[in-house]
């Protein structure tokens, strides 16, 4: 019964995985004229000693931190806020979700327009209220912040959606009981709602971290990793090594290391939110 699934999963995951692992021990260049050689662990040692790699890890770390703190925090806040709207909640929710459901390519285009420091509306408004205009992605000091802003804009609504749905699924009775016991609203949120939301928050965090490790489009369109290497995340560094330099062996090693990092992070988060086993028919 699960044959189609098995075929697709094997075709699209195990095959690339094995291929990657194998390639990561070679010096395969897609356009190279020399025959491919086995080079042992040299791609991995190159990676471990590479300043560029460490730099890109730090950039990805910045995105991960922003996702874990700002997006999770404000997304949760928004969910509570939306919930207080009653009947209109769902319409507002879908409106706020638009950044998340449109293509990253479109998102990037929209922000290219907004980040225009000569003709963009944001800098115009900043100068109107007496502030200095920003250079945004044009400045090595502001580029990372600009991308963090875009990522925040794109994905905070996603966290909001998950938390909102989590709130909807909590049994109303608990809140009634808590109110009868005389707890304040703040106490209810702190000691009842948030602990019950733990699984939802865990999933949201996992999905966001996965997203951070996947991000290519936003960077490719908005900054190309620049100015210089100011916004070169691990995913983008891998993308460039693979599809600009065609250094497949090295990028395979990079990809593999990323996969291990993200798997570890996910395992840790899952461990913190385990649930008991489920019955089966077999």
């Amino acid at each position: 019964m699960s044959l189609p699934l098995a075929v697709i999963l094997i075709g699209l995951s195990i095959y690339p995985l094995v291929y990657l692992l194998k390639t990561s021990f070679t010096d395969y260049q897609m356009l190279g004229m020399q025959p491919t050689k086995f080079v042992g662990l040299s791609n991995y040692s190159h990676l471990l000693t590479s300043g560029l790699f460490r730099h890109s890890l730090a950039i990805t770390g910045a995105f991960a931190l922003s996702a874990a703190i700002l997006q999770m925090g404000l997304g949760t806040g928004l969910a509570f806020l939306i919930r207080s709207l009653g009947r209109r909640a769902q319409t507002v929710l879908v409106l706020l979700l638009i950044p998340t459901i449109i293509s990253p390519a479109v998102v990037a285009f929209q922000w290219v327009q907004l980040f225009n420091y000569q003709f963009g509306p944001v800098d115009y408004l900043l100068t109107q209220i007496g502030l200095k205009p920003l250079l945004w992605t044009g400045s090595p000091h502001q580029a990372l912040g600009s991308l963090l802003l875009v990522d925040f804009w794109e994905w905070t609504p996603f966290v909001m959606l998950l938390v909102y749905a989590g709130l909807q699924s909590l049994p109303e009775k608990i809140f009634e009981a808590s109110a009868i016991d005389g707890s304040t609203r703040l106490q209810t949120v702190r000691f009842i709602t948030l602990p019950m939301l733990k699984p939802v928050l865990g999933i949201a965090l996992i999905l966001r971290l996965i997203g951070v490790f996947k991000m290519v489009a936003t960077i490719a369109v908005l900054t190309n990793g620049g100015p210089g290497i100011a916004t070169e995340s691990v995913s983008y560094y891998t993308y460039v090594n693979a599809f600009t330099y065609f250094d497949i062996g090295y990028s395979a090693a990079l990809a593999f290391v990323q996969l291990i990092i993200i798997m570890l992070l996910v395992k840790i988060i899952l461990r913190l939110m385990k649930r008991p086993g489920v019955r089966t028919l077999a």
């Binding site: 699960s2 690339p16 929209q110 749905a165 489009a217 899952l270």
Partner: protein
């Protein structure tokens, strides 16, 4: 629940207003540009409201910049990937939920496919499609796009199947139903809403997919997300035309999201928040 005081209700409304402004302004600005004639694209001060509706950008985008073909290619690839992931995902989810296929770690493995950065999958798959002479064709794109939607659909639906009371299927089978009938006639109808929801999400993912499009297309299959950045290169950027293409890429998704909002909210959320791992 305690009553919310009036001042706080007002504060909430103000905060919602700010959130709407922040999250919708970039979208508004795109539409604004799409409706402006060329001499108003880049002005200082910028023009915040179009003086009149200028639709030439859209006809340019559709015909001259391949928007029409882009819409068609996006549609074919997305519908194909959605259909494929529903067939594989529904069956797979049921098998995992009810027959524990692959043991306890299999579902984590399914989920882990979602972790793969598209770049990771793209390198070997690029080689693969090239070697079988299918690169940049509809079948290759459809299969490739579903590499993320299949695990997604499987993972979400597995949670829903697990939440169904197993007794219904058990008693159907005691009364002579085959395993297939227990699935098709008993279990599947009960998760219909969730299937619609996951289908919607799979469609959205495929419609938006960017990395695969850029890496695997060589200019033959040109989905809308593929066309967009190609137009932004060069010295004279046609802001209005690009904004029109971008708007075309957004409208179907937003319309779908509103029409199926009940499913979108319930489906993504409930499925994703099941801590069924």
């Amino acid at each position: 629940m305690k009553r919310i005081p009036a001042w706080q209700r007002l504060l909430n409304l103000v905060l919602v207003g700010i959130a709407l402004l922040f999250f919708l302004f970039p979208v508004y600005w795109m539409i604004n540009t799409a409706l402006k004639p060329p001499n108003e694209w880049l002005t200082n001060p910028p023009i915040f409201f179009p003086h009149h509706i200028y639709l030439t950008n859209f006809s340019q985008a559709l015909i001259h910049w391949g928007g029409l073909k882009g819409l068609w290619d996006s549609l074919v690839v997305s519908v194909g990937a959605t259909a494929l992931s529903l067939v594989a995902g529904v069956l797979g989810a049921y098998a995992i939920a009810r027959y524990n296929v692959g043991g306890n770690n299999f579902s984590f493995f399914v989920l882990s496919v979602l972790f793969f950065p598209p770049v990771v999958v793209s390198i070997p798959m690029f080689q693969f499609w090239r070697s079988v002479n299918l690169i940049d064709t509809f079948p290759a794109m459809v299969v490739q796009y579903s590499s993320f939607t299949v695990p997604f659909v499987t993972w979400i639906l597995k949670g829903f199947f697990e939440d169904l009371a197993i007794e219904l299927e058990e008693s159907a089978m005691v009364n002579g139903a085959t395993r297939w009938q227990a699935f098709w006639d008993v279990a599947l109808p009960s998760v219909k809403g969730s299937v619609v929801a996951t289908a919607l999400l799979a469609f959205i993912f495929s419609w938006n997919a960017f990395t695969f499009a850029v890496i695997l297309s060589q200019g033959h299959i040109t989905t809308l997300p593929y066309i967009l950045p190609t137009l932004m290169e060069g010295h004279y950027v046609l802001w209005g035309d690009i904004a029109a293409i971008a708007t075309l890429a957004v409208v179907p998704i937003v319309v779908l999201a509103f029409v199926l909002q009940r499913y979108l909210v319930r489906g993504l959320s409930f499925g994703t928040i099941r801590e069924s791992l």
